[in-house]
C-alpha cells in the first residue's frame, strides 16, 4: 500500500457493514454509489478528493465514475460549508411569495453573498431549485430539514439562537 492510500480517510466498521447490506439490495454494487456518497458526506462533512477516492475504492469503481456523479448532482459538495447550510428555494412558487427578498435579507444580515460562508464558519446561504413544498412558500432547508412559510423575523430568531449556541448544531 502506498503512502497516499494509507492517508485516505476511512469509513467506520459500522458504516462498512451498512454499505455491505446496502449493496445486497441491488443487482450491481454500482447502484449503491449515490447512497454511499450521501453517507460519506454525512461522515466527512463534504466530499474531498480523498473521500471520493475512498468511495471509489469501497465500491470498486474508477475514481472518474465517482467524480462524474459528484459533479452532476447539486446535493454533493466538494467544499466545506457553514455549520448551518441555509438553502432558500427561489423557484416560481417561492419567488411569488417573497423568496428573493428573504435571500437579500439573509445576505444583508450575515454580510455575505449568495454561496458565501460567514467568517465564523457558522452560516452558508445558497439558492436552490424547487424544493417540492410550494404550499409552504417560501421554503428554506436548514441542514436538510424543511422550514416552511419562513419570513425575515423567523430567520432572525434562528440566526440569533444559532449564534448563541456557539456553532454547535
Amino acid at each position: 500500500m502506498s503512502a497516499v492510500e494509507q492517508a485516505l480517510p476511512q469509513f467506520s466498521s459500522k458504516r462498512l457493514e451498512e454499505i455491505k447490506t446496502l449493496i445486497a439490495r441491488y443487482p450491481h454494487s454500482r447502484s449503491a454509489l449515490l447512497p454511499v456518497l450521501h453517507m460519506a458526506q454525512e461522515d466527512f462533512e463534504y466530499l474531498s478528493m480523498d473521500v471520493q477516492k475512498l468511495v471509489a475504492k469501497t465500491l470498486g469503481l474508477h475514481l472518474m465514475a465517482v467524480r462524474e456523479v459528484v459533479t452532476f448532482y447539486t446535493m454533493f459538495r466538494e467544499k466545506p460549508c457553514g455549520t448551518y447550510l441555509l438553502e432558500v428555494c427561489t423557484n416560481a412558487g417561492c419567488m411569488l411569495n417573497g423568496a428573493d427578498e428573504l435571500v437579500r435579507h439573509l445576505c444583508d444580515t450575515l454580510e455575505i453573498k449568495v454561496g458565501g460562508t460567514t467568517p465564523d464558519g457558522l452560516f452558508t446561504v445558497t439558492e436552490v431549485e424547487c424544493a417540492g413544498a410550494c404550499a409552504g412558500a417560501p421554503v428554506v432547508q436548514i441542514n436538510n430539514a424543511y422550514h416552511e412559510k419562513v419570513d425575515a423575523a423567523h430567520m432572525d430568531v434562528f440566526i440569533t439562537e444559532a449564534r448563541g449556541q456557539g456553532g454547535k448544531k
Binding site: M75, A133, C134, A135
Partner: protein, 430 residues
C-alpha cells in the same frame, strides 16, 4: 374506508392523509390498509390485475398521462430476466408537491400499491427513487417499510403466499432531470441522470437492461382502491378518458395554497375559488401555470377549463403532474420567466446540443431583458431559440424550457417591451 358507491367517494390517495399517525402500520391497518391484499395475492392473477387497471382508465399521475394498465401490458413475460418496479418519487417539477404528502402521511398506501403492482408484474425487487432533499419523507418511508417487513407484508413469502418482493428506498441527490424515467434508471445505476434514447422503452430494456416499469407515487397509490372496488368503479369517477381523482398542488398567489384531491373534470375556477380561497389580489388571475413550470400558461379566458388531460391539451397546454401555479395582477412575469430560464439552464443534463446551448441562451437573454438591457432583436432570439429547442432533443426538458418563454412572448409582449423602454429612458436621463 373508501365507499364502494363511486358517487360517494371523496378521495382516493388522500382519503386518510389527515389521520394522525396514519404513517404507522397499526393505524393504517385500522383504516383498511392491506385488508384487501390477501385477496389479491390469493385470488387474482396478473391478467386480472392488468385488466382491472386498464378498465379503470387510470392514466399516469407523474405528468405524461399514459394509461397505466397499457404500460404494464407492454412488459414481456418469461424473458428469463428479472422485471423491476421503480416508483418515481423524484417530484421535482416546479410547483409539484403532492407525492411528498402521500409518502410522509400515508406511506403504507404506496407500499400496498407497489406490492400489488409488483405481484402483477412478477417483480422481485422494487425501488422507490425519492428526491434527495426529501430526507424526512425517506425516513418515514423506511420506517413504514421496516414495519411492513416485520408484519410479513414484504420480503419472503408475503402473507404466506408464494410471492416474495423486496422494497428499497433510494435517494437521489438533487437533479430535476432524474424525474424523467430513463434518467431515473441511469441514476439508479449509479450514473449521472442522462436520459436514454427510446426505443427501447424501459418496459423492454430498463434497469440494467431488464424489463422495468416506472410509475409515479400517486399512480401506484391509486392501485389498491382500484383492485378492491374494481376498474369499473374507478372509471365511473371523473369524466370519460380522464377518470378518477387527481391531486392538484396549488401554489403562488392563492389564499390557501395546498394539495387538493378532486374528481377529474373539476374546473380551474372551482379549484382556485372554492378550495384555495381565491386570489391574493384581484378577482381574475393574470396567468396560470396549469401543469408544472414546463406547461404553457393559461390566461383568464381559460379560467373555466375542466381539469382533465384532454381539456388542457385542447386549451394549448397540459395537465402534467397537476401542479398549478397561480399568478395574480401583482406578478412580475418577466422576472418569473427569467427565473424559470435559469432553472432549465441549471438542470439541463447537457447531452443534447439544442438544450445545452439553448437553455443558456434563453437564460442570458432573459437576464438582459429583465435588467433593462434588452432590445427588440432579443424577442426574436427568444422565439427562434425556443422553437429550435422544442422537439429536437432526447427528452422533454428543452420543451419545458421553451414553454414559459413562448407563453410570455405570446401573451405579454408589452411587458417585455416596457421593460426595455424603461431602461432606455433611464440610460438617457443618466
Amino acid at each position: 374506508m373508501i365507499p364502494s358507491d363511486p358517487q360517494k367517494v371523496t378521495g382516493i390517495c388522500f382519503d386518510h392523509v389527515d389521520v394522525p399517525n396514519q404513517n404507522s402500520l397499526a393505524v393504517a391497518r385500522k383504516n383498511g390498509a392491506y385488508a384487501f391484499l390477501p385477496t389479491v395475492l390469493k385470488e387474482f392473477d396478473a391478467d386480472k390485475i392488468i385488466d382491472e387497471v386498464k378498465t379503470s382508465g387510470l392514466r399516469g399521475r407523474g405528468g405524461a398521462g399514459f394509461p397505466t394498465g397499457l404500460k404494464w401490458s407492454f412488459v414481456p413475460r418469461n424473458t428469463g430476466k428479472p422485471t423491476y418496479l421503480l416508483c418515481n418519487a423524484d417530484e421535482g417539477e416546479p410547483g409539484t408537491f403532492k407525492d411528498r404528502d402521500i409518502m410522509r402521511f400515508d406511506p403504507h398506501l404506496l407500499i400496498e400499491g407497489m406490492i400489488m403492482a409488483g405481484f402483477a408484474l412478477d417483480v422481485k425487487d422494487a425501488y422507490i427513487y425519492i428526491r434527495g432533499e426529501f430526507l424526512h419523507e425517506a425516513n418515514v418511508m423506511n420506517e413504514a417499510i421496516r414495519e411492513a417487513y416485520a408484519a410479513n407484508l414484504l420480503g419472503e413469502n408475503i402473507l404466506g403466499t408464494d410471492y416474495s418482493m423486496d422494497l428499497t428506498v433510494h435517494r437521489g441527490a438533487g437533479a430535476y432531470i432524474c424525474g424523467e424515467e430513463t434518467a431515473l434508471i441511469e441514476s439508479l445505476e449509479g450514473r449521472p441522470g442522462r436520459p436514454r434514447f427510446k426505443p427501447p422503452f424501459p418496459a423492454v430494456e430498463g434497469f440494467y437492461g431488464c424489463p422495468t416499469v416506472v410509475n409515479n407515487v400517486e399512480t401506484l397509490a391509486t392501485v389498491p382502491a382500484i383492485l378492491e372496488h374494481g376498474g369499473a368503479w374507478h372509471a365511473a369517477i371523473g369524466v370519460p378518458n380522464n377518470t378518477g381523482f387527481k391531486i392538484f398542488s396549488v401554489s403562488g398567489h392563492v389564499n390557501k395554497p395546498g394539495n387538493y384531491e378532486v374528481p377529474m373534470g373539476t374546473t380551474m375556477r372551482t379549484l382556485i375559488e372554492d378550495y384555495c380561497g381565491g386570489l391574493q389580489h384581484g378577482t381574475v388571475p393574470k396567468a396560470i401555470i396549469p401543469g408544472g413550470s414546463s406547461s404553457a400558461w393559461l390566461m383568464a379566458e381559460h379560467y373555466d377549463v375542466p381539469l382533465t388531460f384532454d381539456d388542457l391539451i385542447k386549451a394549448g397546454s397540459m395537465l402534467g403532474s397537476g401542479a398549478i401555479i397561480v399568478m395574480d395582477e401583482t406578478a412580475d412575469l418577466v422576472a418569473l420567466t427569467r427565473r424559470l430560464a435559469h432553472f432549465y439552464a441549471h438542470e439541463s443534463c447537457g447531452q443534447c446540443t439544442p438544450c445545452r446551448e439553448g437553455t443558456g441562451w434563453l437564460e442570458r437573454v432573459m437576464n438582459r431583458v429583465e435588467t433593462g438591457h434588452g432590445c427588440e432583436a432579443d424577442l426574436k432570439v427568444l422565439k427562434e431559440a425556443s422553437e429550435h429547442m422544442a422537439g429536437r432533443t432526447i427528452c422533454a426538458l428543452a420543451d419545458g424550457a421553451a414553454a414559459p418563454i413562448l407563453s410570455l412572448l405570446e401573451h405579454f409582449p408589452d411587458e417585455l417591451r416596457s421593460r426595455m423602454a424603461q431602461s432606455h429612458q433611464e440610460e438617457q436621463s443618466a
